[in-house]
C-alpha cells in the first residue's frame, strides 16, 4: 500500500534555484543512508552472534527508513514525477552522491564497527543541528532520525571500546580497520558547492563547526579503547561528487537487480 508523507507546504515559497540545491542535498543524504543501510543488511544472518546480527539489522532498518523519508522528500522537491523507487533503483553509480566511506565493504566485524563509528558520530552531530533548519522537510526528518542515531552511536562507541581494549586479536583487528578506513573520514566534513551554498543561506550547518564536536567524541572513545587517533593521513574523497571506488558498482548491481530485470515490478 502506498503510504505517502504529508506534503510540505513551505515548498511553494521556494525559488527554483533553492529547490534544486535542496534536492541535491537531500539526495546526497538519502544515498548515504541507503548505501550504508544496504551494507549493514549484508550482515543479516552472518553476524558474529545473534544479538549483534539483530543490532546491525536494526540499524540498517533505521537507516533505510531515513532513506525512504529523504527520497520521498527529494522527489517532492524535484517535482518531476519521479518516485522514491526511481531515485533508489534507476540511477547509475556516477549519479550517487554518498561519501566513499559508506560504500566500503564490510570486511570483518572490526571493519564494520569502525566504518559505523566514523559515520555515526558525523551523522549524530549533523542531525542534531539539522533539526533546527528553516526547511521543515529536512528539519522533520532530522528530528526523527536523530533519536535513532544516538542509539547507533552508543552501539558503535561501545564496540570500539570493547574491541580496542579487549584481547590481543580484537586490538590487532580494530587497529587494522582504523588504518584502512580513517582516510575516508575527511570527506564527510569536506563541503561540496551545494553544501557551501546551503550553509551560507543557513539551511544546513557549516561542517567546520561539526568537526570539532566529532573529533572530541572520537578522542574520548579512542582514549577509553586505548587507540591512537591517526595523524597526518591523506584524505580520500570523490563520492560526494560522483567519483566512487569500484565497490559501489557491485553493490548497486545487487541492490538494483530486481528493478533492472523486471522494470516497474511492484510487491
Amino acid at each position: 500500500m502506498d503510504l505517502q508523507h504529508t506534503p510540505t507546504a513551505a515548498l511553494q515559497n521556494y525559488s527554483p534555484e533553492l529547490r534544486v540545491l535542496l534536492f541535491d542535498y537531500t539526495l546526497q543524504l538519502a544515498d548515504t543512508s541507503l548505501i550504508l543501510g544496504h551494507r549493514l543488511s549484508e550482515w543479516c544472518g552472518h553476524g558474529p552472534i545473534l544479538e549483534q546480527d539483530l543490532a546491525m539489522a536494526n540499524i540498517a532498518l533505521d537507516l533505510i527508513g531515513e532513506t525512504r523519508s529523504l527520497y520521498q522528500y527529494a522527489a517532492e522537491l524535484e517535482g518531476k514525477g519521479r518516485t522514491e523507487d526511481d531515485l533508489a533503483y534507476l540511477r547509475e553509480a556516477v549519479e550517487y552522491k554518498n561519501p566513499l566511506l559508506v560504500e566500503q565493504p564490510n570486511g570483518d566485524f572490526a571493519d564494520t564497527v569502525m566504518r559505523q563509528f566514523i559515520f555515526d558520530g558525523f551523522h549524530f552531530f549533523l542531525l542534531k543541528d539539522l533539526q533546527n533548519s528553516p526547511d521543515p522537510g529536512l528539519a522533520g526528518i532530522a528530528a526523527k532520525s536523530f533519536k535513532e542515531a544516538s542509539y547507533h552511536l552508543k552501539w558503535s562507541s561501545e564496540w570500539i571500546i570493547r574491541l580496542g581494549d579487549g584481547t590481543e586479536e580484537s586490538k590487532r583487528r580494530i587497529e587494522k580497520a582504523l588504518s584502512n578506513l580513517w582516510r575516508y573520514s575527511g570527506e564527510l566534513f569536506a563541503m561540496t558547492q551545494t553544501e557551501k551554498q546551503l550553509a551560507q543561506a543557513s539551511f544546513i550547518p557549516e561542517y567546520s563547526a561539526l568537526q570539532p564536536q566529532w573529533e572530541a567524541h572520537v578522542a574520548k572513545v579512542f582514549a577509553e579503547a586505548t587507540l591512537e587517533v591517526p595523524q597526518n593521513v591523506f584524505m580520500q574523497k570523490g563520492g560526494k561528487t560522483g567519483l566512487h571506488t569500484e565497490h559501489l558498482g557491485y553493490l548497486l548491481t545487487e541492490l538494483q537487480y530486481l528493478q533492472r530485470a523486471y522494470p516497474g515490478l511492484e510487491w
Partner: protein, 163 residues
Amino acid sequence: MTTEENIWQLLEEVSDPEIPVLSILDLGVLRNVRVREDGHVQVTITPTYSGCPAMNTIAADIKLKLLALGFKDVSVNLQLSPAWTTDWLTPDGKVKLEAYGIAPPVEPNGDIHALFGRDTLVRCPLCKSENTKLISQFGSTSCKAHYQCLDCLEPFDYFKCLK
C-alpha cells in the same frame, strides 16, 4: 459527538500488528483525523521508528476498518514532525505493555551522555525484580531492547525510551 471524534473512538479497535495488546491510540501514533465536506476522511499517523515496517499494515488496517464501517473515501498519510516520543504512550498503554511481558520505557534514554553513565534501571515484567541486565540495545523490533532478569533468569523485551 462529531464524526471526527467518532472516528477517533472507532480507531481504538486498530492495534499495532507487532504488539497487538496496544491500540494505535495507546501507542500515540494516531495524530489527526479530518473529515472534509465531501465526506473524504483523511487520517494522519506517525511512525515510532523511521523504518518501522508496521506502518503500512497499520495504514491498511485503518482503511479497512473505516471502509467496513461505511466511510467510502479514506486516505492515510504519514507525518514525521513532530517526531514520536515514548511520552505519547498512554499510561494505560504502559500497563498493558507490562502485563503483556514487555517492560515499558523508563528514563533516562539512550542519549549519547548515557554512554559512560549508569545503565537504565529496567524492571522485569514477570517477577518485578529490578536486578536486570541489558543484553542488547537492539531487540526483536526497532522499538525494543533485549534484557535478561538476573533473579528469575527470564529474557524479556524492553520498550526503549525515545525522546
